[in-house]
C-alpha cells in the first residue's frame, strides 16, 4: 500500500467525523421547544380528565414544564409515588421514548415484568404524548396518608398542627421528600431513636390491595447511615405486613392483600437509629428520616 494512503484515510476519517459533528452541532445547539410548543402542550393536557395521571419521560424537563403547563404542577406529576393505581395515565416525552431511565422504575412491575405499550400517541411539535390503559391496572381507592390520621408516639398522642403532627419525640409531616434523588410526596416521620410511632387511619376505605413505599429522606443522611426500620401494618388489629427496610432498597415498594370496605388501619414504625454517623461519631443531625406513602387499590374484578 502506498504510504500516502494511510495518511489519506486518517485525514479523511477525521474530516468525515468533523462533518458529522457539524450536523450534530446544528441539531444539538438550539432550542428544541418553542413557546408555541409549550402552549400547544398546555392546551392538549388541559383536555385530559383530572383523575388521570400525566408524567414526564424526561424528569429534567420538570421545572420548565411546570412553569409552562399548570396541569403538570400537581403532585401526581411532580412527585408521584409510582404509576400503579392509574387505569389511564399519559407520558409526555421529548425524545419520543416513554420508558426512559427516569420512568421505567415508576412502573410497578419493573424490572421483573415488561413495561406496557402505549394504546395511542399524539405528536405535538417536539413532544409525543403516549396514552396508556394497561390491561388489569388497578385504580386508586384512597390515598391513605392524605386522609384523616391519628398519630401517637411512646409519650402519647401527637396533636395535628400546621399540616403535620407535633409529637413529643419528633414531628410527622406530609411533605415532598427526596428519596434516591427523586421527589416523593409522602409522610415524613422525623422521630427519635428506638421510639415506635403509631399511625392510625380509622375507617379507612380499602380496596383489595394495599400498596405503599418507604424510603429515606436526604442523600446526606443516607450517606451517613444505613440503619434499618421496622414497619408493621395491621387491618382491624390483624397484622397483614411486617417489613424490615433500609435505604439500600431505595424507594422500597410493598403490597399486601386487604379486605375491601371500611376498616381500621394501623401502621407502626420503629426506626432503630434516626441519627447519622460522621467524623464526631453518632449525631442526631442530619436526620435519617423515613418517608412513607400508602394507598388502597382495587383491581378490575376485585372486591371493594
Amino acid at each position: 500500500m502506498s504510504p500516502r494512503r494511510p495518511a489519506l484515510i486518517a485525514l479523511g476519517v477525521v474530516l468525515a467525523v468533523a462533518a458529522v459533528e457539524w450536523v450534530a452541532a446544528a441539531r444539538a445547539y438550539r432550542r428544541a421547544i418553542s413557546g408555541a410548543d409549550w402552549r400547544a402542550l398546555d392546551a392538549h393536557l388541559a383536555a385530559i380528565p383530572g383523575d388521570e395521571a400525566i408524567v414526564l419521560a424526561e424528569r429534567w424537563l420538570g421545572p420548565r414544564a411546570r412553569l409552562e403547563v399548570p396541569r403538570l404542577r400537581r403532585w401526581s406529576s411532580a412527585a408521584p409515588p409510582d404509576l400503579a393505581g392509574w387505569p389511564r395515565f399519559h407520558v409526555v416525552s421529548l425524545g419520543g421514548e416513554p420508558w426512559t431511565r427516569d420512568l421505567r422504575g415508576e412502573w410497578p412491575e419493573w424490572p421483573l415484568g415488561h413495561v406496557p405499550e402505549a394504546s395511542s400517541r399524539d405528536h405535538l411539535g417536539p413532544f409525543t404524548i403516549h396514552h396508556f390503559s394497561p390491561p388489569g391496572a388497578a385504580e386508586t381507592v384512597a390515598d391513605l396518608l392524605e386522609g384523616r390520621l391519628e398519630v401517637r408516639d411512646a409519650r402519647g398522642r401527637c396533636p395535628e398542627r400546621a399540616g403535620g403532627f407535633a409529637c413529643k419525640q419528633g414531628r410527622v409531616e406530609r411533605v415532598v421528600a427526596e428519596v434516591t434523588f427523586t421527589p416523593r410526596r409522602c409522610l415524613r416521620l422525623a422521630v427519635d431513636d428506638g421510639d415506635a410511632l403509631t399511625i392510625r387511619a380509622p375507617a379507612a376505605l380499602l380496596g383489595d390491595t394495599l400498596r405503599g413505599h418507604l424510603g429515606f429522606d436526604d442523600f446526606n443522611a443516607r450517606l451517613r447511615s444505613d440503619a434499618p426500620l421496622l414497619l408493621t401494618i395491621a387491618v382491624d388489629g390483624a397484622r397483614i405486613a411486617e417489613l424490615t427496610l433500609s435505604d439500600a432498597q431505595g424507594w422500597a415498594a410493598f403490597e399486601a392483600p386487604t379486605p375491601a370496605g371500611r376498616h381500621d388501619l394501623t401502621i407502626t414504625v420503629l426506626p432503630t437509629s434516626a441519627g447519622t454517623w460522621g467524623d464526631r461519631g453518632y449525631q442526631d443531625r442530619p436526620l435519617h428520616a423515613p418517608c412513607l406513602e400508602l394507598r388502597s387499590l382495587r383491581h378490575p374484578g376485585g372486591a371493594g
Binding site: 486518517a10 485525514l11 467525523v17 444539538a28 383523575d51 421545572p63 404542577r73
Partner: protein, 645 residues
C-alpha cells in the same frame, strides 16, 4: 537535522517520489516540539510545507510570532469582555475575598515594606484561603488595586472588606481580579500557536493547536475565571516547553526551576511535573545509551527544578514564610484528605470513591469534539511510533562529551513520549480508584494543551503525507498551488467549526455544554451527566430578582462571598437578604442530581414546585428561581370514591 525532502525548488511530479517523501515526513515531523527561542527545532525539516507556504512563504522556519501575539491578545480581550456575563463561581467568591486581603498587603508592601513584611501583618493577609498557593490571588488583588472601578459599600460583606478603587479604574472589581488568569490564557494561546506551528510545520497547525485548546467550551469558561485551572494548564505547558529546551541548553536548564516554581505557585497540579519529566528523561537517556552514566542522572534541569523550583514557589507564597514546614504539612494534608464532591455520571450520583475508571475518559469524549480527539490520538500514536523507530545516523552513537548541564542532543528528546505522558497522566490520575471524587473536567484540563499539540503534530504529518511536494512547488501552476493552499484552510474550518460553535452558543454557560455527538446539553441531560457544579449560572436572573423587592432569600449553591462580590459591584438586588430555606420567601436552585434534596426543601418551604423564572441551555434548566406565591402548586383532587369515613 538535514531535510530528507526535496526542497521547494526541486519539486518532482513523480508520484512515487511524493509517496516516499510523505512516509519520511510522517515519521519525522510528528511530535518534535519546537524551540521557541530558536525559531524551530534544530533537528527539524527545513523544507517548506504546503500550508506553511500558504501563510508566509518568506517566513521559512521562523515561528509566527505576530500571529501568536495577535491570537493571545484577542483571547485575553474577548475573555475580559465576554466573561462579564459569566456569573461568579463558588470558588471565585473565596478567591475574591482572598485577593482583597492579598491586594491590601501588596499595597502596604509598596508603601510601608517593613510593616508588610512583618509576620503578623503578612499572616493576617495570607491566612485567608491558605489551602491554595497565593500567586493568582495576589495577582488578582494587585490587578484590582490597579484597574478596578470603585466598589459600593456592602454592609453585609463578610469581614467588612472596605470599598476599593483602582489607580486607573477600567473594570468592575471582579473583572479586574479575573484579568491575570485571562492574561495567562492569552499567553497559553500564544505558546500553543508557536509550539503548534513548530510541530505541524505551518501557521495553520499553530492556529489549530491554539483553538483546539481555547475554543473548547469548558476551557473557554474556565479561562476567564479568577481560578487556577487554566492558569496551571498554561504553566504546565510552559514548563514542558522549557524542559524540552533545557535538555540541551544550560540556559533553559537554569530557567526551568523558576518556571516550575511559578507553576507550583499557581496550583498543586504542577507538583507532579518533575516526576513525569524525570521518567521521560530516564527513558531518553536509556534510548540514547547513556543511562549507565550516573553523573547524568541529576542533570542541570532537574537540579534546577529541585532547588530553584521550591525556592521560587516559597518566595511567591508569603503564608509559608512563617513556620514553613508546619504550614506546608497542613497544605498537603488538606489536599490528601480532600472531601468528596457529588458528581452525576450516567444517571448515578457518586459521592464516595471509586468512580468508574472510564469516568475522565468518557467525560473528555463527552465534552471535546470527537474529530479533535481523533486527531490528537493520531498525533500521539505517530509521535510514539517515531520515538520507538530505529535511530539513524549520528543519533545511534552515544557521544562521550555529554554534559551534565545539557545531557541530550537535539533529536534525542523523545517528544512523542513527552506529549503522551503529559496528555494522559492527568486523566489516568483522576481515574485511579483511590483519588478523591472531584467531578469536573477542569481537574484534568492540564492534559489539553498537550492533546492540542499532538493534534497539531498529526495535522502537519498528515498534510505533508497527502500533499504532493510538486503541488506546492514554486514552479507549479498557480491554480494547483491555490488548491493546495485552500484545502488546509477549509479542513481547518471543518475541524474547528463544531467546537467554536459549541463555545459561542453556550456562552456564558460553557461549563454546562457538551459535545455535538453527545447531543449538547439536552443529550447530556438524557444520559444523566453532570449539569453544573459551581452555583454561577445566575446573571440572566438578576433583573427578575431585582423586581422581587424586600425578601429573605435562599442562595442555595451561590456562595455568600460570590454574592458579596455582586453586592460590591452594585449588581445584587439590595432587598434580597440571605436566609435559610425554611425562612426564605424566594430561592435559587442550581440543578444537579443531588441537589434534589434542596429542591424539595424549597418546594415544601415555598409551597410550590414551580419556578418563577429559569436559566436554561437548550431547554435544559440550569438554575431556577422560585418565589412564594408565584405559580403555587395545584393539589391533586382526592380519588373519586374517597369520601372519608
Amino acid at each position: 537535522m538535514s531535510g530528507d525532502r526535496k526542497g521547494a525548488g526541486g519539486g518532482s511530479t513523480d508520484a512515487e517520489a511524493d509517496d516516499l517523501d510523505a512516509s519520511r515526513s510522517l515519521a519525522r515531523d510528528a511530535a518534535a516540539l519546537p524551540d521557541l527561542d530558536a525559531g524551530g527545532s534544530s533537528d527539524r525539516d527545513t523544507s517548506p510545507s504546503p500550508d506553511r507556504d500558504a501563510s508566509a512563504p518568506s517566513a521559512g522556519r521562523r515561528p509566527p510570532l505576530l500571529l501568536a501575539l495577535a491570537l493571545g491578545a484577542a483571547t485575553t480581550t474577548l475573555l475580559s469582555l465576554g466573561h462579564r456575563d459569566v456569573g461568579y463561581t463558588r470558588d471565585e467568591g473565596i478567591y475574591f475575598a482572598a485577593s482583597r486581603a492579598y491586594g491590601g498587603w501588596a499595597a502596604t508592601l509598596a508603601q510601608r515594606p517593613g510593616e508588610a513584611l512583618s509576620a503578623p501583618v503578612r499572616d493576617r493577609a495570607f491566612a485567608v484561603n491558605q489551602e491554595h498557593p497565593a500567586l493568582m490571588k495576589l495577582a488578582g488583588g494587585v490587578a484590582a488595586r490597579l484597574v478596578a472601578t470603585p466598589t459600593v459599600p456592602s454592609p453585609g460583606a463578610q469581614g467588612g472588606d472596605p470599598p476599593t478603587r483602582g489607580l486607573a479604574p477600567l473594570l468592575p472589581e471582579g473583572a479586574a481580579m479575573r484579568l491575570p488568569a485571562q492574561l495567562l490564557a492569552g499567553l497559553g494561546v500564544a505558546l500553543l500557536t508557536l509550539a503548534g506551528a513548530g510541530l505541524g510545520g505551518s501557521w495553520i497547525a499553530g492556529v489549530l493547536a491554539a483553538l483546539w485548546f481555547i475554543a473548547l467550551p469548558r476551557v473557554w469558561f474556565h479561562a476567564g475565571l479568577h481560578c487556577f485551572d487554566v492558569p496551571v494548564a498554561v504553566m504546565t505547558l510552559a514548563v514542558a516547553l522549557a524542559y524540552r529546551r533545557a535538555l540541551s541548553s544550560p540556559r533553559w536548564g537554569l530557567a526551568l526551576g523558576p518556571i516550575l516554581g511559578v507553576a507550583i505557585a499557581v496550583k498543586h497540579n504542577a507538583l507532579f511535573l518533575p516526576v513525569l519529566l524525570g521518567l521521560h528523561y530516564l527513558v531518553c537517556l536509556g534510548r540514547a545509551g547513556a543511562l549507565g552514566r550516573p553523573r547524568l542522572w541529576p542533570a542541570l534541569p532537574f537540579a534546577s527544578m529541585a532547588t530553584l523550583g521550591p525556592l521560587t514557589a516559597f518566595a511567591l507564597w508569603p503564608w509559608l514564610w512563617s513556620d514553613p514546614i508546619g504550614r506546608l504539612a497542613g497544605y498537603f494534608a488538606f489536599h490528601r484528605q480532600h472531601s468528596y464532591y457529588n458528581t452525576e455520571y450516567l444517571g448515578l450520583n457518586y459521592n464516595q470513591p471509586p468512580l468508574p475508571l472510564a469516568y475522565p475518559f468518557t467525560l473528555t469524549w463527552a465534552t471535546v469534539p470527537t474529530c479533535l480527539l481523533l486527531l490528537a490520538a493520531i498525533g500521539l500514536a505517530i509521535g510514539l511510533w517515531r520515538d520507538l523507530s530505529p535511530r539513524t545516523g549520528s543519533l545511534r552513537q552515544d557521544p562521550k562529551d555529554r554534559r551534565w548541564s545539557a545531557p541530550l542532543r537535539p533529536g534525542e528528546g523523545m517528544d512523542g513520549l513527552l506529549l503522551a505522558l503529559l496528555a494522559l497522566f492527568p486523566l489516568a490520575l483522576i481515574a485511579l480508584p483511590t483519588v478523591p471524587i472531584f467531578g469536573g473536567t477542569k481537574h484534568w484540563m492540564t492534559a489539553y494543551p498537550f492533546l492540542a499539540l499532538a493534534a497539531a503534530s498529526a495535522w502537519g504529518a498528515l498534510w505533508r503525507a497527502v500533499t504532493p511536494a510538486s503541488a506546492s512547488a514554486v514552479g507549479a501552476p498557480l491554480r494547483r498551488r491555490a488548491r493546495v493552499l485552500l484545502a488546509p484552510l477549509l479542513a481547518l474550518a471543518l475541524l474547528l467549526g463544531p467546537s467554536i460553535r459549541s463555545t459561542i452558543h453556550a456562552h456564558p454557560h460553557g461549563l454546562e455544554q457538551y459535545a455535538p455527538l453527545i447531543g449538547g446539553a439536552r443529550g447530556a441531560a438524557d444520559l444523566g451527566l453532570l449539569r453544573g457544579f459551581w452555583g454561577h449560572a445566575l446573571t440572566p436572573l438578576l433583573p427578575t430578582m431585582a423586581g422581587l423587592g424586600e425578601r429573605p432569600f435562599d442562595l442555595h449553591d451561590l456562595h455568600e462571598l460570590a454574592r458579596v462580590q455582586y453586592e460590591r459591584e452594585g449588581r445584587w438586588p439590595p432587598g434580597l437578604r440571605p436566609a435559610g430555606t425554611s425562612r426564605a420567601q424566594a430561592a435559587l436552585l442550581f440543578h444537579e442530581r443531588h441537589m434534589t434534596t434542596y429542591e424539595v426543601q424549597q418546594w415544601n418551604a415555598l409551597g410550590t414546585a414551580t419556578p418563577a423564572a429559569i436559566v436554561e441551555l437548550d431547554d435544559v434548566p440550569l438554575t431556577s428561581l422560585t418565589v412564594r406565591g408565584v405559580n403555587q402548586s395545584d393539589g391533586d383532587p382526592p380519588p373519586a370514591d374517597d369520601r372519608g369515613p
